[in-house]
């Protein structure tokens, strides 16, 4: 067959693996060996990883096996192989953001989520490829080459967490963490046919997540099923004193919500987010809502016109914050330095060589939006739109428990298909509103669209509404089978 055939398939899930390891049905080392074999077999075609941690992972897996042999519970993720998006800091392990700027940077500290995963018994297998500094929707903006969609290698995996989505879809790992600033977990999850969750802003600590747009960024899991994603959220979530925007609320009981059904749940289909979708995606989506209605959900359409301003507001706020967050890459303390006559030329040369075109474009856009004379018209105005959208969502959630839309307006597209930046930005049209409002949202695979590529359904919920989001997500997953 040609390369268009599906390369590999998702492996068993997080919970299944943990149970197998804990009950000594399978050792953590064997689980890992399977993963590494699969990676060895297919990674050169897919390029999900920037770095595979062969030795460190083997050592960790054997530690887990030792614990179990001594009767000690390694935690809920015992021996579960996990991949991390390469913008999540790992102590003594390169963290590059898929940028030449950080190609040789070794963080001296762990992100909070990394410590939490390790404490839960997970085995970190590698760092996944991404759009440079998480800016993109296809993983084509990686300085180290694109990732391919395991469902069909001729198509992009989406982005920016494309490597994370591909690593799960290809069966390299049971779970991967991604980050979502405007859809960067949900859109690639949708395009690769896996589950992706962006929790409520503040649910998961951002400490150690290399910032793109601080008021929008949120870490979340990509998994093969909804229940696994719920478990991972419970593990990585919770209050962190190192993140001032961390929410001090319990983040538990999500797994239980997955079994509650949708009888009487009010589901709103957002007109403005459904309309831009291609016919194949609309068809799959409508099938999903029909089936939801058939099992007792109250499905209705709702128009939220304010959402049509979301994309424009997002593409002012995110670049503005990014222009500031990425200013620290100046060649002085770490990362790339390109020589210059004086400090300013050194900084300019470093930044010109270290950043790719999309990163430069957004830094330029953000610098402009914040610059003297334009702040009120652009950044200030975009922040008001943010309020507008949040309030509109608030009104919608008076009538609905969750809101639904396609995650991405299209199925996976081909490499180089979206040359025009605006065209690419439109990939995020359905996902960015949740980031602007700080609300939780997830993508659940449902059926296939054009070219037999996966379609994802987005479930959105109000702030801290993860329980009902997982409740509905789990039913959609059931209906898809």
């Amino acid at each position: 067959m040609t390369s268009t055939q599906r390369t590999s398939f998702p492996r068993q899930g997080v919970r299944e693996t943990a149970i197998a390891v804990k009950t000594r049905f399978q050792s953590a080392s064997d689980v890992l060996s399977d993963c590494l074999e699969e990676i060895a077999r297919c990674e050169d075609k897919i390029h999900a990883f920037n770095l595979v941690l062969d030795n460190q992972a083997r050592q960790r897996a054997s530690e887990i096996d030792d614990l179990i042999a001594r009767g000690i519970d390694p935690g809920p993720l015992a021996g579960v192989p996990v991949a991390l998006k390469d913008n999540i800091c790992t102590r003594e392990i390169a963290t590059t953001c898929s940028s030449k700027m950080l190609e040789r940077w070794i963080p001296p500290y762990n992100a909070t989520v990394v410590a939490k995963l390790q404490d839960a018994g997970a085995v970190i297998v590698g760092k996944t490829n991404m759009d440079e500094f998480a800016m993109g929707s296809s993983t084509e903006n990686s300085a180290f080459g694109p990732t391919r969609n395991p469902c069909n290698l001729d198509y992009v995996p989406g982005g920016s967490s494309g490597g994370s989505a591909a690593s799960v879809a290809a069966g390299f790992v049971c779970c991967a963490l991604g980050s979502d600033t405007g859809g960067s977990i949900r859109q690639p999850a949708s395009l690769c046919g896996v589950v992706g969750v962006k929790p409520t802003y503040g649910r998961v600590s951002r400490y150690g997540l290399i910032a793109f747009a601080s008021s929008l960024d949120q870490i979340g899991p990509l998994c093969v099923n909804v229940g696994d994603a719920a478990l991972i959220c419970e593990v990585i979530g919770g209050y962190d004193p190192r993140d001032s925007t961390s929410i001090d609320e319990p983040f538990s009981g999500l797994l239980d919500s997955c079994d509650k059904g949708v009888d009487g749940i009010r589901v709103g289909v957002v007109t403005e987010l459904l309309a831009p979708a291609s016919p194949d995606v609309q068809a799959a989506f409508t099938k999903c809502t029909d089936k939801l209605a058939a099992i007792g959900a109250k499905v209705d359409e709702i128009s939220i016109p304010e959402l049509s301003y979301g994309l424009a507001a997002y593409y002012l706020i995110a670049p503005a914050e990014a222009s500031s967050n990425l200013a620290r890459y100046d060649g002085v303390r770490y990362g790339l330095r390109v020589a210059g006559q004086d400090v300013e030329s050194m900084m300019r040369a470093t930044r010109s060589a270290g950043f790719g075109p999309e990163v430069k474009r957004r830094i330029m856009l953000g610098t402009y939006a914040l610059s003297s004379g334009y702040y009120d018209a652009y950044y200030g105005q975009a922040q008001r739109v943010r309020t507008l959208i949040t309030k509109a969502f608030g009104r919608a959630y008076e009538s609905f428990d969750v809101l639904l839309s396609p995650t991405s307006p299209t199925v996976a597209f081909g490499f180089g298909a979206k040359q025009d930046p605006l065209d690419m930005y439109n990939s995020d049209i359905a996902t960015i509103a949740s980031n602007l409002a700080g609300h939780p949202a997830m993508s659940v695979p449902f059926g296939l669209g054009a070219n037999n590529l996966p379609v994802g359904v987005q479930v959105m919920a109000p702030t801290l509404g993860e329980a009902v989001m997982f409740q509905v997500g789990a039913q959609i997953e059931g209906l898809a089978q």
Binding site: Y201, I247, Y334, E344, R351, R386
Partner: protein
């Protein structure tokens, strides 16, 4: 709303100025491309600039938290080796940079 914003376009000179503010050295090709692309993006963004939102307050945080503070207690510092191994130019315990022409 300023006139510039309503125009929704950006001149090549402005692009040069913005690049200088952002410490990006752009070649002629990049300047042309960015002038065109930023113009198109800002055109799109001007849909936002045109809405009357005088009565809407800006939202800089998705969550309304206040008074998040830590106690004034010592935490671990980094080792000098951690700094040195990542530093492009480390000299006598300090980060060395080429000569500085301007005061901050």
């Amino acid at each position: 709303m300023t006139d510039q914003a309503s125009r929704g376009k950006i001149s090549r000179e402005e692009v040069v100025h913005i690049a200088s503010l952002a410490r990006l050295g752009l070649d002629d090709g990049e300047l042309d491309a960015f002038t065109r692309e930023l113009g198109a993006i800002l055109d799109h963004a001007s849909t936002v600039a045109e809405i009357d939102l005088r009565d809407v307050s800006p939202m800089s945080h998705p969550i309304a938290l206040s008074n998040v503070l830590r106690d004034d207690v010592l935490d671990e510092c980094l080792e000098l080796e951690d700094l040195q191994s990542n530093a492009p130019d480390f000299f006598e315990g300090k980060f060395r940079v080429p000569k500085i022409l301007d005061e901050p």
